[in-house]
């Protein structure tokens, strides 16, 4: 016990640094994937057939292959095939590649949620809007979107919680996130070897953060409880 207390400041410092990387990846992915998902959703619902077919094909490929493979390909492909590492060297290059992979992957998942939300609004409401003389964009923003947001919050919450945990996949391209930091104490990092307890702390970081995300999304869901 004394030993754990002695090692605690070193472990917490390393875990905090790793968790900062995890948080950065989470927020950057969220900021990029939420709007991009909407663009992809419009693409897949487009009446211009080639665009909708192409978008659906991309979504199918991205959703049908593991994120880990996408990370490996996105990070290593340019350097190995074109002979030019477009991501830049060091931690920032790995972060950028991870962020691009996560944004694209999650945007595809979000797009399907958006599409489901948009298509769940009865067509009759759009027709009613048209009859009332509203423009298409007015109908979208004032009739459809409000209902879509309410309907997509629960499935989006699910995806967002999964995203928090999925950020750990970035370690496959050696991004030093929190699990990397926790596991390193098994193998002699900072003079601490064979210590498994930092991994329990690592899990606690995820649990607490997911708890906060769950509470916040729950509140959002309640706030949107206006169409009952």
């Amino acid at each position: 016990m004394d030993l754990i207390l002695q090692q605690m400041p070193i472990v917490l410092k390393a875990l905090n640094e790793g968790f900062l990387q995890t948080l950065k990846l989470f927020f950057v992915t969220g900021l990029g994937a939420i709007p991009l998902g909407l663009v992809i959703a419009f693409g897949s619902m487009s009446r211009f057939k080639p665009l909708s077919v192409l978008t659906r094909l991309v979504v199918w490929v991205v959703r049908g292959t593991p994120l880990m493979i996408q990370l490996l390909i996105i990070f290593y492909f340019p350097g190995m095939v074109w002979g030019h590492n477009i991501w830049g060297k060091g931690e920032s290059g790995r972060f950028l590649a991870s962020a691009i992979a996560f944004i694209f992957n999650y945007a595809c998942y979000f797009s399907e949620i958006y599409r489901g939300g948009i298509q769940s609004v009865p067509v009759g409401q759009q027709e009613a809007g048209l009859v009332l003389g509203m423009t298409k964009s007015q109908i979208f923003f004032k009739v459809t979107l409000l209902q879509v947001i309410k309907r997509i919050v629960p499935p989006m919450s699910n995806e967002i919680i999964t995203l928090v945990k999925d950020t750990s996949l970035a370690r496959i391209i050696a991004l030093q996130e929190i699990i990397w930091a926790g596991q390193s104490f098994l193998k002699g990092s900072h003079g601490i070897a064979g210590a498994i307890w930092p991994l329990f702390f690592t899990a606690v970081y995820y649990l607490v953060f997911n708890g906060i995300v769950t509470v916040l999304l729950g509140r959002l869901e309640k706030r949107l409880d206006y169409f009952r």
Binding site: K89, A174, G191, A193
Partner: protein, 263 residues
Amino acid sequence: MRQKLRAALCLALCAILLATMCACGGSGGYRVVDDYSGESSYHIAFRKGDRLKDYVSAAMEVLASSSVLRASSVRWFGENLIAVDADADAMEPYWDSVPARTVIVGIDLNNMPLSYLSNAGYEGFDVEFILQICDYLSWDVSFYPIAMENAEIELNAGNIDIAMAVQDSAVTDNMDISPAYLTSRYVLVARYGSHIRRRSGLKGKTLGVTVADEKVLYQNEKFVQSLGSVIYQTNTEGLFQALMKGEVDGVLSSSIVAAYYMK
């Protein structure tokens, strides 16, 4: 009669003193009992066709002719394990073409005592070794931790310029390597004070091995069957701690790691 008694007492005292010294161990309390497998060399790996290889290899040979690398090896392992041929003039053909640059060095942080992370940052023999070479070439160094099994991909994708501690078994056609800078073999190690002095002494005893070296252990299944039990550790630090505490009677380890703990 008195003189004989005094001489006998003196002899007995000397014997006790000698036995105590042996038990304490001038070599950190461990003894190599037997060799377990053939030699394996450690190389520095580069991208295929990268001129960096010529500069680094030549710099290694120049530094091997001075006491720099030797002193480093003695500090880490207690003896000179440097396997590089010395040539004080090896850099002569290259000085005109050596560019000023920053090299990104990929290291495995789970490779005590070659490379690991301490509170002070990256440490280990490899870290010191490559810093000395780059210092000689007036290059800046930036370290990046990689998974050793990805060394070839990291090199060819341009994420790192140099991968340290690439063993013979990991060398592929898609990378260039420097001459070996360290050689290692697997050895069986026991506590200095124990009665285990040869491999047969481990019969029916408990042997410690790291998870990563399990394959090496099972190269000799007959030996494994002769053991009482095998205990796995995740790292070399835990392995030698278990040996020190008497939790295991012997350990299987690379000679470099053993030299570090026996120092």
